[in-house]
């Protein structure tokens, strides 16, 4: 039973350098901070970081799954509060969860949470789906 306050099942995605390269090619965003460690360090980052939009795309997959398909996602937004840091040779987690915040007129609003290594990476993350 879905009602306001229902917490949905958590899902964990894993990111590595290969996925960042794959996203760079699929999205066209070839910014070197997402692929080149030397460059990332040179601009003051702790390591290579995932594209914020890759994080958002993965959380979007979580939303689409709950909605019964991408075609049912009506609104989706988030603030990028901390980067997902992806060291070489590692798989880092992106742990996603959601709470039902509103149900109205065939639409369901979700408040989303997304963390990596225990750190909140998206803020104000919300979606509205048709259900």
């Amino acid at each position: 039973m879905i009602e306001v306050g229902t917490v949905l099942s958590e899902k964990v995605f894993y990111l590595d350098r290969a996925l960042l390269k794959q996203y760079a090619d699929a999205s066209g965003d070839q910014n070197p901070i997402h692929q080149n460690e030397e460059f990332a360090l040179s601009v003051g980052l702790p390591n290579v970081i995932a594209h914020g939009m890759l994080t958002m795309a993965l959380v979007g997959k979580y939303v689409s799954d709950f909605a019964g398909g991408s075609a049912n996602v009506l609104e989706y937004g988030a603030r990028f509060v901390k980067p997902v840091i992806v060291p070489a040779g590692e798989k880092v987690d992106l742990t996603v969860c959601a709470t039902i915040s509103e149900i109205e007129d065939g639409k369901i609003s979700l408040t989303l949470s997304a963390t990596s290594a225990g750190v909140k990476v998206l803020g104000m993350a919300k979606a509205v789906i048709r259900k």
């Binding site: 995605f13 996925l19 794959q22 996203y23 090619d25 699929a26 999205s27 066209g28 965003d29 914020g52 939009m53 890759l54 958002m56 795309a57 993965l58 979007g60 997959k61 939303v63 689409s64 398909g69 991408s70 075609a71 996602v73 009506l74 609104e75 989706y76 937004g77 988030a78 603030r79 990028f80 104000m124 979606a127």
Partner: protein, 129 residues
């Protein structure tokens, strides 16, 4: 620095963009989406960001794209994007401010298909001091 006179300007994309199944497939593969009939909700960022770059780095606007970070992003999807869609994009600079030396620019893009808006997207872009 962004030219403050740019705030409120709307830039119309001149070229139409045809969406291919292979680019939807590539995007879906990254996130493990097996249903490729419609594009995932954030797919159109690949159009929007490149259009923003083209508009905002024009000499009379003057944004420094090289020091840019993405602050936030929102999509409203009125009609899912599919392969074969022919889209045009326009972008409006909605607001601009400078805080602690960082430039904070809010831009909106509308993707149109046959005269109707299919996706509106809002991005906050931050040029680091």
């Amino acid at each position: 620095m962004l030219n403050p006179d740019s705030v409120g300007r709307t830039f119309a994309g001149t070229e139409s963009i045809t969406i291919s199944q292979s680019e939807i497939d590539s995007f879906c593969a990254v996130i493990g989406e097996t249903d490729t009939e419609v594009a995932p909700p954030t797919f159109t960022i690949r159009i929007t960001l490149s259009q923003f770059e083209a508009f905002l780095t024009q000499p009379d606007v003057g944004l420094d794209w090289s020091r840019l970070v993405h602050g936030d992003q929102k999509f409203e999807i009125f009609s899912p994007v599919k392969a074969g869609d022919v889209l045009t994009c326009d972008a409006t600079i909605e607001s601009y401010r400078v805080a602690a030396g960082n430039e904070i620019v809010s831009v909106r893009s509308d993707l149109h298909r046959a005269g109707s808006v299919v996706v509106s997207a809002w991005s906050t872009l931050v040029v680091r001091a």
